[in-house]
Symmetry: C2
Subunit: 384 residues, 2 copies
């Protein structure tokens, strides 16, 4: 199995776009090809992460459309849908494609155009990823989030304010990220005063609806330096699932998919949680960042909130989390998110993050699908 | 890179199902697990091929649902959508997963539930995979098929009747396949008298709308004999694309994606077209079977129709094509098709096809997406 490196990244601004899904995927892809100086290279794999272009825009076949619009034929192309974890799954499969020797140059592009439908329609499309029996009862990801947050706060005796502090931190980071959807700083008081969505969670605990795309170019590590002076090694990846039916989980505060995916990724890379110096986690709601920071092994279960209180996950802390602004403030164009997470860590390891730059040579991303029942974890390292 | 073998297959009947997409995927998957005696094994990858569960049934997240319903957690799971080539893409990625050492036991399940929407809605969802500019003009796959067929017949001086003969052959094969949608034998006269759909093509030139699912279990080849006495080696696979915009193709009768995908598959397996003894091709309309038989290298361009006339592609011919009945008569549940093709060839190589059994130890499948602009080719061999 070959080692795989990222040699370029590209993003659109996250927010509202007039362009369609294929066009925003092309914008991010073109940026990634330019960044990696691979515009004239022959690609042999195109992995397009997208959750619901059919439901949101009535468009299918978008992997073929993107490949053709980018003139990347005859590369193999496919769309990868793993709901909110589509980006992670596409990266994982692109990585396997290079690692197995099937491909020497791979584009992974993730994107979603969500503002083309009214918010209630978008929310219903998203809710359709829950288990059928749950969906029939009117349960949505938002209501599950409320249940999980209440359970966590009570069990681990965590203050409600700590969730607001995650949102405040991520907005502050986003204010330094030109591609982020929300550029404004918020306060704990504002977050706590925002409308209730699913008690105890309020509007500022949730990620928004977003259009946007992100892309990366992967090559065998031994070829990486011919494209960039700052390649980033994907030293380990892992994907795993947990029960789809939320009520079947032994413990609502534990994300088994995240635990198992990260165990695989750590084993593949030879790294441990202690080696991670910067991370992008899947904060579709504020508590998710805390729960993942525990299930990834950064902090003990029930103590992730204390790390937020102590400022450990701030940019100037020991382990900065979501320097991009996270899903909360950078935005969450569903298919783009996993790819954008890897793009952010890549840029951090390359020292290209400007005002939000942190000091790190090993980073991690955690992309989650469903209601936490599917996760893909990547470990990235500055190449020696 | 490790060699990969198939140790079990499973199918539902193709036709109309009352069950939903996850349930028919589970039926095929359970059959594949039973066939491979892997019900108690730990799976580490679940690849679910499906084109449009959201559009057809308002259901998303089906890879997670299937994995959980089958109790295959914590296996990595993702849905793979490559339109009509979804099955081929899922197999290709599952194969890479085992070949790269990421997985030791993989389930690839493909399915589609299409009869849940009226035929005109299904046709529109399918048409949305064409290029946006084509779609705006009202072009559908059916009208492209008519253009391609007319072009081929005129250029290569082929008789209209030869297309009917493909349909007749495939219906006859399907009549011996208990899982096929159409069990009835048809005549050339009936095919030629069926209603015109896109001149010169008529109703009996096209595959139907179908519900159904198919599944296979893959393991590293060195472990295959611990599960079955008749493992089938996947000795080569390849995927490739052609221009998405049909008018940009140099020659409307040539499927460049098929040519390039098969070149990769032949190179990987060390086989040539002359080694292939049985094949399942993607006859979404009758001419497609002929065009692919040429672009795969079985016959020279413009001469595939002569092979049909000569009976070479019949069950008793030198190179039987679509012993299952093909998309035409077995049916075409979009996400299932690529997996069902591989299941058919596997069963042929295992000698389990009953009345439609042919004598073969090396076979090929060609799964096509879009309007021929994306293809995945697999070469399968009886393990020595």
């Amino acid at each position: 199995m070959r080692q795989v490196a990222i040699v370029g990244t590209g993003l659109t601004k996250f927010g509202k776009h007039e362009k369609n899904i294929v066009q925003i995927l092309a914008d991010a892809s073109l940026a990634a090809l330019r960044d990696s100086k691979t515009e004239r290279e022959k690609f042999d794999g195109v992995f397009v992460a997208n959750f619901a272009s059919g439901e949101f825009e009535g468009k299918t076949g978008i992997a073929n459309a993107l490949t053709s619009d980018m003139a990347l034929e005859p590369a193999f192309a496919s769309r990868i849908d793993n709901t909110s974890g589509s980006g992670g799954a596409a990266l994982y499969l692109g990585w396997m494609s290079v690692a197995s020797g099937q491909s020497d140059m791979v584009l992974v592009a993730g994107g979603e155009k969500m503002t083309s439908v009214p918010t209630d329609v978008a929310t219903d499309v998203i809710a359709s990823l829950t288990h059928e029996e749950e969906y029939k009862q009117g349960v949505s990801l938002l209501s599950f989030a409320g249940l999980m947050a209440r359970h966590y706060l009570e069990r681990y005796d965590a203050p409600r304010e700590v969730l607001a502090k995650v949102a405040v931190k991520n907005h502050e980071n986003a204010s330094l990220n030109p591609n982020a959807q929300f550029q404004k700083i918020i306060t704990v008081e504002q977050a706590l005063a925002s409308p209730i969505i699913a008690d105890p969670l309020r509007l500022y605990d949730f990620c928004p609806i977003t259009d946007g795309a992100a892309a990366v170019v992967m090559v065998p590590a031994e070829r990486a330096r011919s494209f960039t002076e700052r390649p980033v090694l994907i030293s380990g990846m892992g994907g795993a699932t947990d029960t789809h039916v939320v009520s079947e989980r032994e413990d609502l505060t534990v994300l088994n998919a995240v635990r198992r995916a990260s165990e695989k990724a750590y084993a593949a890379s030879g790294r441990t949680p202690n080696d991670i110096q910067v991370a992008e986690l899947h904060d579709m709601f504020t508590l998710m960042e805390i729960a993942q920071s525990e299930d990834l092994g950064f902090f003990r279960k029930g103590e992730g909130w204390k790390a937020v209180e102590a400022g450990i996950t701030r940019r100037d802390g020991r382990l900065p989390i979501n320097t991009s602004g996270g899903l909360k403030a950078k935005g969450h164009p569903i298919g783009a998110t996993g790819v954008a997470q890897v793009a952010e860590i890549t840029s951090q390891l390359q020292g290209r993050c400007g005002a939000r730059q942190v000091d790190a040579s090993v980073g991690l991303t955690c992309n989650v699908a469903g209601f936490g029942n599917n996760a893909v974890v990547s470990i990235l390292e500055r190449m020696a």
